[in-house]
């Protein structure tokens, strides 16, 4: 993590591209918390990269004064993995929505977690497809009537925290866009965590599924007694109806790029092409 002596101000982390989000969208809160975290951590914008997929939330990179990659739908994690592996000095984020993360991109999540890629993954979960105007997502509640589910949804919603815990992710947390201070802290902890940091952020979509009231009702602070090194306890909390806000789990196994570095050392990082070709000499 490359840091500066003096932090860049939040307003200077903000790019001059105006967000396309609807007024009141939870994503504004997430953006502000992220910018604050970047500033607090004294990160250097030249060494920050943000990868995203497609969705309202996927527009994120354009709004931050840093390097960004707005890729295709669902592929933020493979992009971020490639970025971090190519240049481990960078502080790398992946951001996106619940559809991007758990539907089309759902196949990448277990692997980013098990590889322990040192990326902070912020998923803005609004329990709906925002950008495509309101279809049910994998986290939508049962019985939700939308044009695409005119008789109500019937598929059981996924439980992202439980899923990611089961993948063995090394940092698992949940935040809420309406609690910017706490969210900033979570993001900071995520960045400081060496390894894959998964942060589910409840971030309401005011236009297609306004969940502000519902999220307020259903969320609660993480019980103080919770020990984030206890995976079973984390799982237990994840399966409760109450959506706890805070860090569910953290452990400290080495991240992917450290393995790569070790491996380069083990292999002896000094091969020349000439030497390699000798093996094929006839």
């Amino acid at each position: 993590m490359i840091t500066l002596a003096e932090p860049i101000k939040v307003k200077d982390w903000k790019s001059d591209v105006k967000p396309i989000w609807c007024p009141g969208c939870g994503d504004y809160g997430v953006l502000n918390s992220l910018l604050k975290a970047l500033s607090d951590l004294k990160l250097d914008p030249d060494h920050v990269a943000i990868a995203s997929g497609i969705g309202c939330s996927g527009r994120f990179p354009a709004f931050v004064n840093a390097y960004g990659f707005h890729g295709v739908h669902g592929r933020a994690l493979p992009l971020a993995t490639g970025i971090k592996t190519a240049n481990p000095e960078l502080t790398v984020f992946a951001v996106g929505g619940d559809g991007d993360a758990f539907s089309i991109g759902g196949g990448h999540l277990p692997h980013a977690a098990r590889r322990n890629v040192d990326v902070t993954y912020v998923v803005m979960d609004n329990e709906i497809y925002g950008l495509t105007k309101g279809q049910p997502s994998p986290t939508s509640p049962i019985g939700m009537e939308r044009k695409a589910s005119p008789y109500g949804t019937y598929d059981a919603p996924l439980n992202p925290i439980a899923m990611v815990l089961s993948y063995g992710a090394s940092f698992v947390a949940r935040g809420f866009s309406s609690q910017p201070r706490e969210l900033t802290e979570l993001i900071k902890r995520g960045v400081q965590h060496q390894g894959f940091s998964f942060i589910q952020v409840m971030s309401p979509c005011v236009t297609f599924f306004d969940t502000y009231a519902y999220f307020k009702e259903i969320t609660a602070p993480m019980p103080e007694s919770h020990d984030p090194s206890d995976r079973m306890a984390a799982m237990q909390l994840a399966l409760e109806r109450t959506q706890y806000l805070g860090v569910f789990y953290e452990d400290n196994r080495p991240p992917h790029h450290v393995h790569m570095e070790e491996l380069q050392e083990k292999a002896g990082n000094h091969l020349t092409l000439e030497k390699l070709l000798e093996r094929f000499q006839r």
Binding site: I54, R75, H111
Partner: protein, 593 residues
């Protein structure tokens, strides 16, 4: 029956050492100074099943697997029965006389029995059977024993305790042949007296991987798939040694997106796959094209469609490589034509990718990938690597990632560079990289991206290894083709030329952008262009037909497609016969006219 041009086949159950015998024997031959070219089939079963190993060995460069089998090596009766029908009349059978009873007198075949089992048992080392047979082959075909011993040391040296026994087995076979086969055989090898020239022996996939390393590739992300897997396996071992890394991704979509991410972060990056995998990468190919991110994608083609025949060859993915992508997503397409060329085309591929900030597809195939070929030493000193043009960020805050330029290429900033912040944007964007949907901007950006193709087409005329052209300048008959059929075409032509036919040939190695200049010059004055291809529609032929239709039709040049879609590479004779057929046709026509 020429000395020093021999096709040898070994067939039998997989696991019986067929491939070991073959691989070691060809390496002894290569080590002795001869040229080799192998061909093998793979069983449907995972273990067991029938395999064929075939090698052509000569003192001149070998360009194809040949047309006929001169020597059959049989370790058991099944291996004999299955292949004897393909041995040419008068061919030689070398066999384990403990197991095999050949048909005496059949087709004038000459029989060379070796009691392999017995000999191995005599030194109580049944694992040495393969080496007994190799020893006999070395002696019978006239290869030097010391080279054979050196090769055994090189290949099997890591099993230290077994080495003496292995060498003993080799000698047993050698001595047996020396004692029993006293007549010089009709086909034999005569290594050049000056000994082995310098040179390399490797497979197509190895050459590809080495080319990638030479081109500065540092990140490889891939997902296993036949017949591309061993590129990943090779690089997994070697890339860390040059400070790079291999990621075995969870699927092909992840693989290509990882490579794109790595390239965005400044590394030369690639992936390799086969047709089904390339099909899955099409969306991301468009992303690389739109975001102007350099990336190299190798497709080791195999027979399809769909899962098809993973262990059989095809040139069926050309259309996919050229045309797949939603809306206009420019890319380059490169096709190496031999093991040696795999190395050089990877350098071209990375140079194209980096210089023009584009995805590049490299089309190899299943016949080229596992084939062992001797090739001349790589001319490392002649390799020139083009770096991506980096932005001059002296003035900050004014950086435009997608600056509209005359060439279409915009200087790039990569993370870590001070003041080069921007978003690589998959939406249509303005020069800064911010989303922008105005009709004007879209048109300008579409043209900018497309322009890189034309810029490259022009600049490429000065690059090495862009086309290969040979034969008779003034020939009425020409052959055009792409990829791994070059060798068979060379041989077929040599044979036809030896018989007095005039033929010229051109293979572009870069298929997109097509080197129009060279091709236009080449087709001028021809009467017929034969285009042999391993696919049904004649994908390349259709492209040539279309692109040069004006010249072709105006000048009455006929395009003759020769399509094979049987999972097998061309045999030279198939092309030779087409040359003869077309020549006769032209003569008849000339008479009529």
């Amino acid at each position: 029956m020429p000395v020093n041009d021999m096709v040898i086949r070994i067939g039998g159950e997989s696991g019986e050492g067929i491939v070991t015998i073959g691989e070691i024997f060809v390496r002894i031959a290569a080590f002795s100074g001869l040229e080799v070219y192998t061909f093998r089939t793979f069983p449907a079963e995972i273990l067991g099943g029938h395999v064929t190993f075939q090698a052509r060995i000569s003192d001149k460069p070998v360009l194809s697997q040949g047309d006929e089998i001169d020597v059959l090596v049989s370790l058991n009766q099944e291996g004999y029965d299955k292949h004897i029908g393909e041995l040419r009349p008068g061919g030689m059978v070398l066999y384990d006389s403990t197991d095999v009873s050949p048909m005496p007198g059949l087709d004038g075949h000459l029989l060379y029995p070796v009691p392999v089992d017995e000999l191995a048992r005599s030194i109580d080392f049944m694992r040495g059977r393969n080496l007994v047979m190799i020893g006999a082959m070395v002696r019978l075909f006239g290869l030097p024993l010391d080279r054979a011993e050196q090769m055994v040391r090189r290949r099997l040296g890591r099993y230290k305790d077994l080495l003496p026994k292995n060498l003993e087995s080799l000698n047993l076979g050698y001595n047996y042949a020396q004692e029993h086969f006293t007549q010089p055989p009709p086909v034999y090898l005569e290594p050049p007296v000056e000994g082995a020239r310098e040179g390399l022996v490797m497979t197509g996939n190895q050459a590809l991987a080495l080319g990638a390393i030479a081109a500065g590739c540092r990140i490889y992300a891939g997902y296993p798939i036949t017949p591309a897997t061993d590129i990943m396996e090779f690089l997994a071992k070697e890339l860390p040694k040059v400070g790079g890394a291999v990621i075995q991704a969870e699927d092909e979509i992840a693989a290509i997106n990882m490579a794109i991410g790595a390239s965005f972060a400044g590394a030369r990056a690639m992936t390799a796959t086969s047709g089904p995998g390339l099909s899955l990468m099409i969306e991301a190919l468009g992303l690389a094209s739109m975001t102007e991110t350099p990336v190299v994608m190798v497709d080791v083609q195999r027979a399809g469609p769909s899962t098809g025949m993973p262990t059989k060859t095809s040139q069926g993915d050309l259309y996919l490589a050229l045309y797949a992508g939603n809306d206009e997503a420019p890319r380059f397409v490169v096709a190496p034509s031999s093991v040696e060329d795999c190395f050089y085309q990877m350098i071209n591929a990375f140079n194209l990718a980096e210089r023009y900030q584009m995805p590049v597809i490299v089309l190899s195939d299943q016949s080229l990938a596992p084939r062992v070929e001797t090739c001349p030493p790589f001319r490392l000193d002649q390799i020139e690597l083009f770096d991506r043009e980096l932005a001059d960020l002296a003035e900050t805050d004014t950086y435009e990632r997608y600056k509209i330029t005359e060439t279409g290429v915009s200087p790039m900033a990569v993370p870590g560079m001070k003041g080069g912040h921007h978003t690589a944007e998959g939406l249509e964007h303005n020069e800064k990289g911010n989303p922008n949907y105005t009709p004007q901007m879209h048109q300008a950006m579409m043209e900018k991206r497309q322009r890189k193709i034309e810029t490259a087409r022009q600049q490429l005329t000065l690059w090495p290894n862009i086309v290969e052209e040979w034969g008779d300048d003034d020939a009425a008959i020409a052959i055009m083709g792409w990829g791994s059929s070059l060798g068979p075409v060379q041989e077929a032509m040599a044979r036809a030329q030896a018989e007095g036919y005039k033929v010229a040939a051109l293979f572009p190695k870069v298929l997109l952008p097509m080197p129009d200049l060279q091709i236009r010059r080449f087709i001028k004055g021809r009467r017929a262009i034969i285009i042999p291809e391993l696919n049904l529609r004649g994908q390349f032929a259709r492209m040539i037909e279309h692109r040069y239709s004006r010249e072709l039709i105006r000048d009455g040049i006929e395009v003759v497609s020769l399509n094979k879609y049987r999972g097998l590479p061309f045999r030279p004779v198939e092309i030779y016969e087409k040359i003869v057929e077309v020549a006769q046709l032209l003569t008849v026509r000339a008479r009529v006219e």
